[in-house]
């Protein structure tokens, strides 16, 4: 008798059963009702969402919603086909033009998800005989792109330009080389030293792709991301991004000035062999990106809120993923899995949702409560999050010191 194909997951199933001891179950969170970009009903309780990627609060933007409604009425619920067959509507073209303008690039290519954008672009750019050189802490979509592609894969130490240079130096001079990094890393919220990484890439004649998924909308003068903020965006060959964070819907993209870029539409399988994004999604993304381009002063409000959360958690003695604020992501480092799930469950009980992140999704075997804020969070909500951390931490017996900076806030109870 042949072996049951799912039997190999028995240890995982056993572990999952054990984790059900933590209630409310952090691995079984359902948003029963979504009230706003920052609040939902979870387990029947009004809950502050402090673990989303809704950085610019676009999910309930009235103009984006109106555009999505209109597109739904005019173009229907879906395209039922690939971009290279029947799935390119005028809406998709307009979105690509909007993106090219937003990034000041000649070409833009839209994918159905951000995951597919990385999967497709990286696996297609770097082919047999080429090298793809990735940061060790790269997102799963980058690792999966490497597994799918035919290129040889080399990994360099996280955010270490010298290590990148050392590894590039070992590669054959004439081989094609694609360096892949992220602007902001989604788990710890740390930034890439892009100036130095770009310099190392240039020194060895390689090309560089930067994934700005977690930096679009609020980094740089035009909100293009970390490359713009550090003044090296014109030296970046390919920028990949997503609509599922600051843009508030779903989808992915790549922009570039490369003269041959358009050929990718006919060779990139995750672009070709999937249905294109539905009209409503495309319409809301177009409106949201246009709005992001025009947000100047508003962007800065986000940093003030993150500063408040970071300082508050630090004052209570929590170990954080970054010493100072580097992004809207504030990761709280916990010693082990029991504390991680204990804290997460206690926070849900207190009416606060944060992301649970653990190895292998996290670097260096870290157990993280990943908090992230968006423009939608009020100061009162930030204080309520801090209060909840203080109470949950004490319940778990963590050494929580002092009180949150603003003790007025049991406002969400």
């Amino acid at each position: 008798m042949s072996r049951d194909l799912l039997a190999k997951f028995a240890p995982l199933i056993a572990e999952r059963e054990k984790l059900k001891a933590f209630q409310p179950d952090p691995l079984d969170v359902t948003m029963e009702k979504v009230l706003s970009p920052t609040e939902a009903i979870v387990n029947g309780r009004r809950t502050i969402l402090a673990g989303t990627n809704n950085y610019m609060a676009m999910t309930f933007d009235p103009d984006a919603i109106a555009a999505a409604r209109a597109a739904l009425d005019r173009f229907g619920t879906g395209t039922t086909g690939s971009r290279i067959l029947n799935g390119t509507y005028a809406l998709h073209r307009r979105l690509e033009e909007t993106l090219a303008r937003f990034y000041d690039r000649r070409h833009a290519m839209v994918f159905t998800t951000g995951y597919q954008a990385n999967l497709g672009i990286i696996s297609t750019l770097a082919g047999r005989g080429d090298y793809v050189v990735i940061d060790a802490d790269s997102h799963a979509s980058i690792y999966d792109a490497c597994a799918m592609g035919q290129a040889d894969v080399v990994r360099f130490r996280h955010n270490d330009p010298e290590d990148l240079a050392k590894r590039l130096r070992r590669l054959p001079e004439d081989a094609g080389k694609l360096v892949v990094v992220e602007g902001i890393y989604s788990m710890l919220g740390d930034r890439a030293p892009l100036r130095e990484l770009v310099a190392a890439t240039r020194e060895f004649g390689a090309q560089i792709l930067v994934d700005e998924a977690h930096s679009m909308g609020f980094c740089g003068e035009h909100g293009r991301g970390i490359a713009e903020e550090l003044g090296v965006d014109k030296q970046v060959d390919f920028i990949v991004g997503t609509f599922s964070k600051s843009v508030g819907t779903v989808g992915g993209f790549c922009v570039s000035d490369h003269p041959y870029f358009e050929v990718l539409r006919f060779v990139c399988r995750p672009y070709m062999f999937t249905a294109s994004s539905p009209p409503s999604v495309v319409a809301s993304a177009t409106v949201a990106i246009d709005k992001l381009a025009r947000m100047g002063e508003e962007r800065r409000a986000l940093w003030r809120k993150v500063q408040r959360l970071h300082a508050g958690l630090k004052a209570m003695g929590f170990a954080l993923g970054t010493e100072t604020v580097e992004s809207p992501i504030v990761a709280v480092c916990l010693p082990d899995q029991d504390k991680l799930f204990g804290m997460s469950a206690a926070l849900l009980d207190e009416g606060v949702y944060v992301n649970v992140a653990r190895p292998p999704a996290t670097p260096k075997g870290m157990f993280l409560l990943r908090c992230s804020l968006g423009l939608g969070h009020t100061d009162e909500q930030v204080d309520a999050i801090l209060e909840a951390f203080a109470r949950a931490g004490r319940r778990l017996g963590l050494p929580v010191t002092g009180t949150p900076p603003c003790a007025s806030a049991a406002s969400n109870a």
Partner: protein, 89 residues
């Protein structure tokens, strides 16, 4: 050209790799060419990649990550290192 590498050189490669493995061997397993990364050393894929980075630096070579699924034992990695050094000569 695995045949052209003499046995003493191969042993030396193995010894140098074994010497790098302390941080990846908290249980103090005796390292032999047959020691497996997943089974004997209980290393996850990230730890294996970190070990590979250390080996690359020790020998100043490139070990592409895509060949890792074929390398289950320390001996197999030593053989791959010898082959890569031979090819890059």
């Amino acid at each position: 050209m695995a045949q052209s590498i003499d046995i003493e050189a191969h042993r030396e490669t193995f010894r140098r790799i074994a010497a790098l493995m302390d941080p990846f061997n908290p249980k103090g397993v005796t390292i032999t060419p047959q020691t497996t990364f997943a089974g004997d050393l209980d290393l996850d894929s990230l730890a294996v990649m970190d070990l590979v980075a250390a080996i690359e630096d020790e020998f100043d070579i490139v070990i592409p990550l895509n060949i890792l699924p074929e390398l289950e034992t320390v001996g197999e990695v030593a053989a791959a290192v010898d082959r890569i050094r031979e090819e890059s000569r």
